[in-house]
């Protein structure tokens, strides 16, 4: 089971209301390489992993991604705090506001709703783990794209923390891939 801890993994601060940036960070909330896709990808793939290490890393990184998902929601919540309907309209959030008000919604920056089609299970641990490594690199690249579009140094601090986590996750998944391939090769020799 999971237990919620009533804290964020890392502080989330914003300099002030910023509907334009709020819309952009949704890419990491409900986008193809966002935190919801990451958490669901790993937590769905873990069941058939062949080693304890692979099951453990997918469980732990999947859980950490849930904490990142919460941080992105917090960014959106704080960036929309105090935003008026006319400011939302001026920032291109007219359609978003009409549907969701200032609530966070599981969609990407372009308004496309989240879908399970963003991630795979292939019945093959090597294929799954290589997807996970690519996913971490794509998430890192997405954070860098968002950093290029951001005008808030407080938000940048949070985004940089999250980008660094993708680098560490990529490293851990690479080690798990080694572990799983060694395991599969031993089985073949036997």
């Amino acid at each position: 089971m999971w237990i919620y801890e009533k804290k964020l993994e890392y502080p989330v601060r914003v300099s002030g209301p910023n509907p334009r940036l709020a819309k952009i960070v949704l890419e990491q909330y409900g986008g193809s390489d966002g935190e919801a896709a990451a958490a669901n990808r790993y937590l769905t793939q873990r069941y058939t992993m062949p080693t304890g290490m692979a099951k453990g890393v997918l469980t732990d990184i999947g859980t950490e991604e849930l904490a990142h998902w919460e941080m992105i929601a917090t960014l959106f919540y704080k960036l929309m705090k105090g935003v008026t309907p006319s400011q939302a309209k001026a920032a291109g959030l007219e359609a978003y506001y009409a549907n969701h008000g200032k609530d966070v919604f599981l969609q990407n920056a372009g308004g496309v709703p989240f879908t399970a089609a963003y991630f795979a299970t292939k019945g093959d641990p090597v294929a799954n783990l290589v997807e996970d490594m690519a996913a971490e690199e794509k998430a890192r690249a997405t954070y860098e794209n968002i950093l290029n579009l951001s005008d808030d140094p407080c938000v940048n601090d949070t985004l940089k923390f999250l980008r660094e986590r993708e680098v560490v996750h990529f490293q851990r998944f690479g080690e798990v891939l080694d572990n799983v391939q060694t395991h599969l090769n031993c089985k073949k020799v036997f």
Partner: protein
């Protein structure tokens, strides 16, 4: 930037920094389970976190529910602010 933050946020940030160290060591140990030094650091940071969380929960109520942390009366799990409402 110098902002005044609450005592609660101050304690939380201290917990965040120790717990982040624990997360990082946990993931490292997952793929390096025989690393003696990392394991000793993990166990040490776990002890520090236990103390920090105990102090925090005395002032601000449970950080975790479902039987992990006790609560004072009345049930304090529902106390605001929730994590996304806090100025850090």
């Amino acid at each position: 930037m110098n902002r005044k933050i609450s005592h609660q946020a101050h304690l939380l940030k201290e917990i965040m920094s120790y717990e982040f160290t624990a997360v990082e060591l946990n993931l490292f140990l997952d793929t390096h389970p025989a690393d003696v030094k990392a394991l000793a650091e993990y166990n040490q940071v776990t002890q520090c976190l236990k103390k920090l969380k105990f102090e925090y929960e005395k002032c601000y109520g449970p950080l975790m529910n479902f039987g992990t942390s006790p609560s004072q009366h009345p049930w304090r799990w529902i106390d605001e602010p929730w994590p996304w409402q806090i100025e850090y």
